[in-house]
């Protein structure tokens, strides 16, 4: 990372005041290039960072290869006659796809419910921290939310079993008695509380820190001028947020939500502990025996007892999860990219790209750390070479 030149370029641009967007950045960066001498440190750090970049590709390829090679025997086997596969966890399924289909549904379904609860609350917390809370409370709250991310999922699982399950029982009974005609709340109501609703609620809590942290960073980056302009036009706080903050942060919110979704899709331990699973496609929320199982929890539950080919089958389901995660990330990219393109066409000065669009969507902590780096440049409305792509320069130049 060229963080040092970036910040110096940023402060230089700040000093000059109203530098046109993009132009100042490129001018600065060419100047930086010219003045840089090559030192041994440059070689070493270049080598290290290139090595890291190559390593992540190698690891990814390794994981993908492992999943594919291990899964093939199970995918191609005849499940009804194979003595390894027609017993135990894989019994009663004619082939791999009949086994993995309900699991995919369960994975998506539980993650979707978790997102339904988690995303609005997470964005709400982020908005409170960035625009409503007094500064001291905001930093405390932000710290607490980040702390939530440090709680291990097994602890969330135990909390779900001991606290959330019994807590939701009266609600489940009421929903079943009064709204039982809706398929979601139908079926035989739970007595132990191990429902997909309980699991998804715990999952929602688990994805809160990711969504909150990222949204908060985005909200904080809303150009001060936009906010003040809105307020000057007579907008209330809420109207200002609606007019200035949300449009600016829209793609960032989508990214944050989808990162949360990624976490929800892969969550294993809490789900395995809380939900009473069955491998079937069901939308029921508050039953004991009709909760769709998720891929990750299914692997965790059955791996220890699985025979060789059953392990291959489970790894095959893992491959499907890999593919789903990949698809979710691609969709996130497409949404963010699409939004950016549209806005660019509109041609306003606010066409600055979402900071997240240039970040690897992976570990939230990395994103936030990178975000902080980006913000230094962004606060002064200057994009520097370190984090701007070709088309952004074009877009900004127009």
């Amino acid at each position: 990372m060229q963080s040092a030149p970036t910040s110096s370029a940023g402060s230089a641009a700040k000093a000059t005041g109203n530098t046109p967007l993009g132009g100042g950045g490129s001018k600065d960066s060419t100047a930086t290039k010219r003045s840089t001498r090559v030192r041994p440190g440059d070689f070493i750090f270049r080598g290290l960072s290139t090595g890291s970049a190559v390593l992540i590709m190698v690891i990814l390829a390794g994981v993908a290869l492992f999943l594919i090679i291990s899964a093939i025997p199970a995918i191609t086997a005849d499940w009804s006659t194979n003595s390894d596969l027609n017993t135990g966890p894989t019994a009663a399924f004619p082939n791999f796809w009949a086994y993995v289909g309900p699991l995919i549904w369960g994975t998506l379904w539980s993650a979707a419910i978790a997102l339904l609860f988690g995303a609005p609350i997470g964005i709400g917390i982020a908005l409170f921290i960035s625009h409503y809370a007094p500064r001291r409370l905001a930093s405390l709250l932000g710290y607490l939310v980040d702390l939530l991310a440090a709680v291990p999922s097994i602890v969330f699982g135990l909390w779900g079993i001991i606290v959330i399950r019994p807590f939701l029982l009266p609600l489940s009974d009421w929903l079943n008695a009064n709204l039982g005609w809706i398929p979601l709340f139908g079926g035989a109501v739970t007595t132990t509380g191990s429902t997909i609703l309980a699991g998804a609620l715990v999952l929602a809590v688990m994805i809160l820190p990711i969504i909150t942290s990222i949204s908060r960073e985005i909200f904080l980056q809303t150009p001060r001028l936009h906010e003040e302009a809105a307020l000057a036009l007579g907008a209330t706080r809420w109207e200002m947020i609606r007019l200035a903050v949300f449009p600016y942060a829209k793609s960032g919110i989508v990214s944050a939500t989808l990162l949360g979704l990624g976490r929800a899709l892969g969550e294993t331990m809490a789900i395995a502990l809380i939900i009473s699973p069955a491998i079937l496609v069901s939308v029921r929320l508050i039953t004991e025996g009709q909760n769709s199982q998720t891929i990750a929890a299914n692997i965790a539950l059955n791996f220890p007892i699985a025979t060789t080919l059953q392990r291959d089958a489970l790894i095959g389901t893992g491959l499907m999860l890999f593919v789903i995660s990949l698809a979710v990330n691609s969709i996130a990219r497409a949404i963010v990219g699409g939004k950016r393109g549209k806005r660019k066409k509109g041609g306003g000065k606010s066409s600055s790209p979402s900071p997240l669009s240039q970040l690897p969507s992976g570990d939230a902590a990395v994103s936030i750390a990178l975000d902080d780096v980006t913000r230094e440049g962004r606060a002064t409305d200057v994009d520097t070479e370190a984090h701007i792509s070709e088309d952004d320069v074009e877009g900004a130049g127009k």
């Binding site: 999943l67 035989a188 739970t190 007595t191 692997i299 007892i305 990949l326 990330n329 690897p360």
Partner: protein, 372 residues
């Protein structure tokens, strides 16, 4: 770079799957292992060579994990040069897989080797294949939570009908017939089963399909075959869920049920003696190879006031011929100790299991003597 998240997710899944112990996490009596120093005059004795040195690597069934801890502590107290590492996180399936791959000196498994596994073990163990030694005996308990009902008796037929979900309320005439004089509420029955694959499920399903094939038409496998139950992770999960919900009934290793209330089955309550009596009365050896001691229960013989009807056996699986003579002598010494009267008493005291009868221990010792 967008692959990174997916890669991370995939890696997490695999890592989590590997790290999880999913079998019955039977946390029984505080494991203050008493190193039994008084050599019992009677019973099966396995002489220990205290000069042995080395490491035994093993793993598998978590049902026998508490017993393994007790055996290891007592064994190492007498043979100080030997370390025994038993990895219960693998579960029975993982134990056998790793043993077949040559990573383990013995595997702990709730089921004996299947025919295909026996065949593939010949690459590891020579033509003699692998030997299954029954070393751990416990019972499957049916625990229930029904406020106001402190004692419950269930017949085999009723159990099968409850667990195939055809009996749905506690005041069903069949349950009432099993419990004369007990007032049963009209509460809905919630059956609690295992969501993870388990030897407990295997043994319970064996019992159901053998004792009541008309009501229990499902295969006897290590995963619960029917949806519609409350499926929980691990024996502790079942015990927890039964404790939490009124009207529940579930099955778990008896050594792991803690304070939960267990029903009597055909009027027999679990006791260590009743489980041992079941082994004596109903277990027959069905060898898959020479010297093998795989057991099969004839459930029709498990009747009578002193015989517990749902016993649970766990095995230690060793090679008939080891590739390494040192590991052979180490493993023979340890398994020999486990299959001695003292070893069984240590497990009974510390892990709550039932002692294997001496007649079977004698056979294990005889078979073990031929292991090379």
């Amino acid at each position: 770079m967008k692959f990174k998240n997916a890669a991370a997710t995939g890696a997490v899944v695999i890592a989590a799957a590997l790290a999880l112990s999913a079998c019955s996490s039977s946390s029984s009596t505080g494991s203050s292992t008493s190193a039994a120093t008084s050599s019992a005059s009677a019973g099966v004795v396995s002489p220990l060579d205290s000069t042995l040195k080395g490491t035994i690597t093993a793993g598998g069934s978590s049902a026998q994990a508490n017993a393994e801890t007790a055996w290891t502590a007592a064994y190492v107290a007498q043979v100080a040069g030997v370390t025994v590492n038993y990895d219960k996180s693998q579960g029975s399936g993982g134990g056998v897989t790793n043993w077949l791959a040559g990573s383990y000196d013995f595997a702990g498994s709730d089921a004996p080797l299947k025919a295909a596994q026996q065949t593939s073990s010949q690459t590891l163990c020579g033509t003699g294949g692998g030997l299954n030694f029954p070393v751990y005996l416990d019972g499957v308990a049916l625990i229930y939570n029904l406020p106001g009902v402190s004692t419950l008796n269930l017949s085999t037929d009723t159990i099968a009908k409850i667990f195939n979900l055809s009996i749905t309320t506690w005041n069903d005439p069949l349950i009432a017939a099993d419990n004369p004089g007990v007032t049963l509420p009209a509460t809905t029955i919630t059956t609690v089963t295992r969501s993870d694959g388990s030897g407990t499920t295997q043994n319970f399903a064996n019992f159901l399909s053998a004792s009541d094939p008309t009501d229990w038409t499902y295969p006897a496998t290590n995963t619960w075959p029917i949806a519609g139950t409350s499926a929980q992770k691990g024996g502790s999960g079942v015990v927890q869920a039964v404790g939490a919900g009124a009207g529940t009934i579930g099955y778990a290793d008896h050594s792991a049920i803690g304070k939960a209330t267990a029903a009597t089955i055909n009027k027999v309550a679990f006791s260590q003696d009743a489980a041992t009596a079941a082994f004596t009365a109903g277990a027959t050896t069905v060898p898959t190879t020479t010297g093998d001691l795989s057991q099969k229960f004839d459930y029709s013989k498990l009747t009578g006031a002193t015989i517990y009807p749902i016993p649970l056996i766990s095995y230690q699986i060793v090679c008939s011929t080891f590739k390494d003579a040192t590991q052979a002598s180490l493993t023979k010494s340890y398994v020999g100790y486990v299959a001695s009267t003292i070893g069984q008493q240590i497990a009974a005291k510390n892990a709550g299991s039932a002692p294997i009868p001496d007649s079977m221990l004698t056979q294990i010792q005889a078979s073990l003597a031929n292991v090379k």
